[in-house]
């Protein structure tokens, strides 16, 4: 089992003919993801060529609009690799087209765009992951986004994280230690994103295959504190958490807008305290996840 995506996920790639879109579409198909359609305005009718895990050539039809793509292929998930100024429109296009899940990889989406996008997708009951996220992977089933497939392994740990490469780091360490994952989800580090920790925790709680959860937070905001409160109240499965940014000076940006300390809210110390109060195992170092998770899987 898994959350959000599985073997039946049918993906439409927005921006399939772009630099990032074409590279990652090939990677997704190589991993075994069912990529059923691509979208690039003006390239409707063309085919995008890739190679399946069994080495077969796959021809993905390209459409002018997501609407056309969904009608023709029944895609139920979209993944977006379009430049930042067009990302908000692409998300709304996907959400209006009938897909259930929209994964926006694009980094650099203006936050005011997201204040419009968020209610738009919510009104339609569509799940948005991101923007500025690495996507998600259910090892052995499907990957939607850019998480490297080879660092993952099938197993029983749910992973949810605000950052990209830090997620890879921790998944890699888990996999090296023989600990596989049900689904690894990167929710993205922007101030406003479509899916938060609690959404993922709730889904992992429901997923029978998931036995423990690893979550990686960051300084800034109060998402981790709210997640901790949720864990205390609603979760029966063990959770291990980590907060990046303990050494970040207050009030300075650290690469993405998620990492601002505004006043007293959102410090690493505060978040770790919330974790401890909620019975969340706290990894002080990335490597600590291995032992903490292993202990909880027994």
């Amino acid at each position: 089992m898994s959350i959000f995506i599985d073997k039946n996920t049918k993906v439409v790639v927005q921006g399939i003919t772009g630099r990032d879109g074409s590279f990652h579409t090939k990677q997704m198909i190589e991993y075994g993801t069912q990529v059923v359609a691509g979208v690039t305005p003006g390239k409707g009718g063309q085919k995008f060529e890739a190679v399946s895990p069994r080495g077969e050539a796959i021809m993905v039809p390209v459409f002018n609009t997501v609407e056309d793509a969904v009608k023709a292929t029944g895609a139920n998930t979209s993944v977006i690799y379009v430049p930042p100024p067009f990302a908000a429109d692409a998300i709304m296009e996907a959400a209006a087209s009938g897909v259930q899940l929209v994964v926006c990889i694009t980094e650099g989406v203006p936050v005011l765009d997201m204040t419009r996008v968020y209610p738009f997708v919510k009104e339609r009951g569509v799940r948005l992951l991101g923007a500025n996220c690495p996507g998600l992977i259910s090892p052995g089933q499907s990957k939607v986004g850019i998480i490297p497939g080879r660092i993952c392994a099938e197993g029983s740990v749910g992973v949810v994280s605000r950052s990209g490469t830090l997620t890879y780091e921790i998944v890699y360490q888990l996999t090296r230690a023989g600990i596989g994952q049900t689904t690894c989800v990167g929710i993205g580090g922007d101030p406003i994103n479509g899916t938060n920790f609690i959404d993922c925790l709730a889904a992992f709680e429901k997923d029978p295959q998931t036995k423990a959860i690893a979550m990686m937070g960051e300084i800034g905001g109060t998402d981790e504190q709210e997640a901790a409160a949720y864990i205390k109240q609603h979760m029966t499965k063990p959770v291990v958490g980590f907060i990046a940014g303990q050494t970040a000076p207050p009030g300075r940006r650290m690469g993405h807008a998620g990492a601002i300390i505004s006043g007293s809210a959102g410090t690493a110390a505060e978040k770790i305290e919330a974790f401890e109060a909620a019975g969340v195992g706290v990894a002080r170092r990335p490597i600590d996840f291995v032992d903490l998770i292993r202990a909880r899987l027994k």
Partner: protein, 381 residues
């Protein structure tokens, strides 16, 4: 991106906010000439991207043009929180009846722009929030509808019981909101919003922070960037698509991804070291980026050792390896280098490094322990 007070005020003025006349001076003589032109008492205000200008002596009241010249001479060149004052705003001094605070920020929790207003203006809103939180009214705005008149009036009445003032303040809220949205702000504030003894409402100070992600589509705002008032190494990094923040430690860090970069710094600290910087080379791989990253880091004389921590996803580790080789050939490093690489094309990267006399680890924890041991003098490079 931070705007200077004079820039923020210019934008607010375009949206209809009443603001006392003001001009920018870069020399004491200019300040004197501007004060002479206005023919009234003026304020001379340091234009730097730092709070607490007043306390630092960067804001002065001047009765005469001669006074303005003298105060400008004192303020120009002054250092406030490490930043040199290059410009002053010379602006007509306002008669102040009462002072209020009006601001908007984008709020993570409500996922909306949120107004903060308080009749206790003229001081830091953080101070008001800490000491008298009941004096602040927060109001999230649904961007789908914009700030409705009734909402602006609610805020206006929170500040003033007089309906004329409430209406005038409501208008300012709508103007501020329009400026906030049109300029792609993540913060905009007027503090203080002043009621003059004559009952006029004017903005005596203005602040705007622009979402960096908005700048590509707003060249007019990008053009307001004042690089002279920013940390030069950070300006340099931005030009090369690197995110760099200078810190006080001695372990230079080059990492891909903000989360991993912060986790790397934390681990340096965990093992007893102090990071010298935050540096994210971002996702796309490019040897040139690595060359620039190394150049910027080595300009900091505090740096005693450099740590690379690269987890190749989109980033190709061979690109990073090539960048390291190129950069060190051109400018041999004077400090030890510890490299951790894993992920995309790691075999090729390892070969490139080994062929050029470098060693590299695949393990983050090991690499961090190693670099900390070096700066502590416990271990050779």
């Amino acid at each position: 991106m931070n705007l200077h007070e004079y820039q923020a005020k210019e934008i607010l003025r375009r949206f209809g906010v009443a603001i006392p006349p003001g001009e920018v001076a870069t020399t004491p003589a200019q300040a004197e000439a501007i004060a002479t032109k206005f023919g009234t008492a003026v304020m001379v205000k340091a234009q730097v991207h730092a709070g607490g200008r007043g306390k630092a002596g960067g804001v002065k009241f001047c009765k005469t043009p001669a006074d303005a010249k003298e105060k400008a001479a004192a303020i120009l060149g002054m250092k406030i929180k490490g930043l040199t004052v290059e410009k002053v705003l010379v602006t007509v001094a306002a008669d102040i009846g009462s002072e209020a605070y009006v601001g908007i920020i984008v709020d993570r929790a409500s996922k909306k722009p949120v107004f903060m207003v308080s009749a206790a203006g003229g001081i830091d809103i953080e101070e008001v929030a800490a000491k008298t939180p009941e004096k602040i009214r927060y109001h999230p705005v649904d961007v789908r509808y914009g700030l409705q008149t009734y909402e602006a009036m609610q805020l206006g009445f929170f500040l003033y019981s007089d309906v004329k003032l409430a209406r005038a303040a409501a208008k300012v809220m709508q103007q501020l909101y329009a400026a906030f949205i049109a300029s792609g702000c993540s913060l905009a504030e007027i503090n203080p919003l002043v009621v003059t003894p004559q009952g006029e409402i004017i903005a005596v100070d203005g602040k705007m922070v622009i979402d960096d992600n908005e700048l590509d589509r707003r060249p007019d705002i990008e053009a307001l960037r004042d690089e002279s008032s920013e940390e030069q190494s950070e300006v340099d990094a931005r030009k090369h698509n690197l995110t760099f923040i200078k810190l006080e430690g001695n372990v230079g860090c080059v990492v891909n991804g903000a989360g991993l970069a912060m986790a790397t710094m934390d681990l340096v600290k965990y093992y007893g070291g102090e990071p010298a910087n935050f540096l994210d080379i971002g996702g796309s791989s490019n040897p040139e980026k690595v060359v620039n990253a190394l150049r910027i880091i080595t300009e900091d004389s505090n740096v005693k050792a450099i740590l690379f921590n690269i987890f190749g996803g989109i980033t190709r580790t061979d690109d990073v390896a090539n960048g390291i080789v190129t950069a060190t050939k051109a400018n041999p490093l004077k400090v030890p280098l510890v490299i951790r690489l894993t992920g995309t094309n790691e075999e090729l990267a390892m070969k490139i490094l080994t062929d050029n006399g470098f060693t590299a680890s695949k393990d983050m924890d090991e690499a961090v322990r190693h670099v900390v041991a070096i700066v502590k003098g416990e271990k050779a490079a």
